[in-house]
């Protein structure tokens, strides 16, 4: 099935929980409300006409232009996205699902945005979500073991945030 068909089917099933779609992009995507992601994921996996049995990739993207001069041309409001690349071995089709989140929960700097974890649907999401938490700073609620995976446990900050600053020192090692 093409993304447009899947999008129609999802809108018919979930209504306004499907918050948008871009069907003209190189890889078309469907946007889902963050609260509904687990419900939608379970549907995508179990519905016989879709059967997205594999989560191929999961990552976070931080949209922020720190340079005021370039901000007008940038074209995105500051936000964080979680991108799910799904693949179906049964029907050999793929789908990109996105969840848009605020950069900080309730605009309170330092409070990571929440999104429900899909580790219960696709087991591999466990590690991917830990990586997204570690590097992009997204709080996956309901994750079985949400710890940093690549950086050290006591590392400060999330490196793939666009406003991330490298620490001055880490355990006596000069940083920058």
């Amino acid at each position: 099935m093409t993304t447009a068909e899947i999008h129609q089917q999802l809108v018919a099933r979930f209504g306004d929980k499907i918050t948008g779609a871009n069907l003209e992009a190189i890889d078309p995507w469907v946007e889902v409300a963050s609260a509904a992601i687990v419900e939608v994921a379970q549907y995508l996996k179990s519905e016989p006409s879709l059967v997205f049995d594999a989560l191929n990739n999961l990552c976070g993207v931080d949209y922020l232009e720190t340079d005021a001069k370039k901000a007008a041309k940038f074209g995105h409001e500051p936000h964080v996205e979680v991108v799910y690349h799904l693949y179906s071995y049964t029907h050999r089709h793929s789908l990109v699902v996105k969840v848009k989140l605020p950069r900080w929960e309730s605009d309170e700097a330092g409070r990571l945005p929440d999104v429900p974890s899909v580790a219960g649907v696709w087991a591999i999401a466990d590690w991917h979500e830990r990586e997204a938490y570690d590097l992009v700073g997204i709080n996956f609620t309901g994750h079985p073991n949400l710890h940093r995976i690549l950086c050290a446990e006591d590392w400060v900050g999330h490196a793939l945030r666009k406003d991330y600053e490298f620490p001055l020192e880490y355990h006596g090692i000069r940083g920058r």
């Binding site: 992009a25 190189i26 890889d27 049995d53 594999a54 989560l55 191929n56 990739n57 990552c59 993207v61 931080d62 041309k73 940038f74 074209g75 991108v83 690349h85 693949y87 071995y89 050999r92 990109v96 696709w122 087991a123 591999i124 466990d126 590690w127 990586e131 590097l135 073991n145 710890h147 940093r148 995976i149 690549l150 950086c151 050290a152 446990e153 490196a159 793939l160």
Partner: protein, 403 residues
Amino acid sequence: MASVVEPESPVEQEYRWTLNFGPQHPATHTTLRLILQIEGERVLHAAPDIGYLHSGFEKIGEHLNYNQYVTVTDRMNYISPMANNIAWHHAVETLLGIEVPKRCKYIRTILAELARISDHLLCNGAAALDTGAFTAFLYAFNQREVLYNIFETLCGARFTTSYTRVGGLMYDATPKFIEQVRAFVKNFPQVHGEVCRLLNRNRIFVERTKGIGVLSKEQAINRSATGPIARASGVTRDLRKDEPYLAYGDLDFNVVCSTEGDCFHRYLVRMDEMLESLKIVEQALENLPAGPVNVPMADRLILPDKSRVYNTIEGLITHFEVVMTNRGFQAPRDECYAAIEAPNGELGFYLVSDGSDIAYRARCRPPSFIHFALFPDLIQGHMVSDIVAVLGSLNIIAAELDR
């Protein structure tokens, strides 16, 4: 980073040990750590702890342009850097909507397959080394040396090749290269047969790998295993066949599969894949089209060769247009995910572009990362000595795992 095992009640723990395996252990080959809970010699639970080689490759990707970043991909899966170069520029070209010339496609196909052979040689050689068969390792490394010589002829580097460019290659293939690949294609089956004879019925090797670390088909799909590991479990997915890229659509080859899914069959699948790769190399080499290897100079994507820069005004202008900052190529404000069938599995890049010649986000889908997440399930209930067999068969490359 650390994910220590949750302690259970003291009574249950009485006969259990916690064993720390790695991060520096000869059998891990790279830096990764396992926290094992063992009872006698049986592994009850394994908690992988990764991140020792984390070097921020994805962050670097947000600061280097599409051509510069290829040097970083060399260092990702450093046992088959050519495949990484090709994967990176495959994704970039998908984003930019470039179709590379046919000759370039064929040369890239040959290199991707040579990289696969070199990766599988190392993986099987090291798996054999860890399970006590030292000789096969030497045979494998001797052939890798031949492949390194081929890469050296082509681009001057043996290890960190950085051979691809946006819309083309660093240099065209030379007759010397073709001669060397022909010699390799001729000689390799003999060595392959010798390694097979050393291992396939070697009682020690077979008993240490057969029935160990079994991955079921359902598990392989649900945990997105790809490449030889998934194919050894009966998942018939190969991007070269399913979504033909480069020249694979024109060439005749088989996808090697098995249904057992244990370490021994992962070894067998890799062994047979090498012969299929050799078939692809031979066909691509004998049908190598003539013509340009890069996209036309007027596209202003690739550096023109020096004779044109010095002798023609268009060449000079193009050279400066390409090298000057803010004058490089324009990418669409879009995003894409494109993957190739790398030796280890599906190696994909998810690129987000903000219109400049530097990726806004360069996410890598690393097969080693996904396969290492399988490890706790594969090793559960097996012996401590089986850890090296399973690790060897998964072909975990820490630089790709941690990026």
